[in-house]
Amino acid sequence: MADTAQARQRETTLMGMYLFLGSEIMLFGGLFAVALALRLMHPQEIVAASKHLHYGIGAANTVVLLTSSLAVALAVAAAEAGKIKGTVVGLQAGAGLGIGFLALKAVEYVSEYHERLLPALAPPEAFANPAAHLFMDLYLIATSLHAVHVTIGVGLLAGLALRVHHRSLALPRQATGVEVVGLYWHLVDVIWIFLYPVLYLVR
C-alpha cells in the first residue's frame, strides 16, 4: 500500500512540474514565433545580422550545457539508487557547469557591447537596418531570459546538493525531489538547443 501511495505522489509531483514546464515552453514559444516571423519577412537582413554573433562561443556554451545535463541525469540516477555522494557530486557538477555557461555568456555580452551589437547600449545607427536591430533585440531578450532561467537552475541545483549532503532530503525515498529539479534543468537545456541554431546559425 505504501508503495502505491508513494508512486502516486511521484506521478502527481512530476505532472505538476510538466504543467509548469509547459508554461515555460509557451513563454519561449512566443520568442521563437518572433524569430520565425523575422526570418520569413527579412531573410537576407537576418542572415547578415546572425553572422555577427560569435557562433564559436555559442557552440562552446552548448557543450557546457549538454554536459551539465549529463551530470544532472547521473545525479538523478544516483539519487534513485540511494547513493548520496554520487548525487551531491552530480548536482554540484551541474551547478558548476551552469556557472561556467553564465561566465562565458558574460564574456560574449561584453565583446558584443564593444562591437556595438547590443541594443539599448548601442545607438540605433549602429545597426545596418531596422530588421537587424529587431533581430538583436530578440537575441538580447531571448538569451537574457534564458540566462535568468540558468541562474535559477544553478540556485536550485546548489541548494539541492546542500540538502542531500545534510541528509535533509532522504534518499532514495525522496529522490523525486531531485528528479523534478532535473526536469527543469533539462528543459533549460532543450530551450538552448533551439536558441543556438535559431540565433547563431542563420545562413
Partner: protein, 87 residues
C-alpha cells in the same frame, strides 16, 4: 552501469549532433539550412526528453502531459507560417 551507459551514449550523440549542426551551417543556406538546423535541434531535444528526462519509462498519461505543450506550440508556429507563406 545499466542506467549510466545510455546516459553517456546520449551525451556523446548530442555532442556529435552539435558538430553536425555547426557543419551544416557552413555549407547550407536558405530554406535547406533552416530545415536542417531545426531537424537536428528537434532530434537533440527528443534525445534529452526521452533519455535524460526519462520520459521513456513513464506511462501514456505522463507523456501526453509532457508533450502537450509541443502540440500547442506547433499550432502557434504552424498558423504563423501559414499566414506569412500565403501573403
Amino acid at each position: 552501469m545499466r542506467t549510466i551507459a545510455p546516459l553517456l551514449t546520449v551525451w556523446a550523440a548530442l555532442l556529435a549532433l552539435l558538430g553536425l549542426t555547426v557543419g551544416a551551417s557552413l555549407v547550407l543556406t536558405g530554406t535547406p539550412s533552416l530545415i536542417a538546423s531545426l531537424a537536428i535541434a528537434g532530434l537533440k531535444a527528443a534525445l534529452v526528453v526521452w533519455v535524460f528526462m526519462q520520459l521513456r519509462r513513464e506511462g501514456g498519461l505522463m507523456r501526453v502531459m509532457a508533450l502537450g505543450a509541443v502540440f500547442w506550440l506547433l499550432i502557434l508556429l504552424g498558423y504563423l507560417v501559414l499566414d506569412y507563406a500565403t501573403r
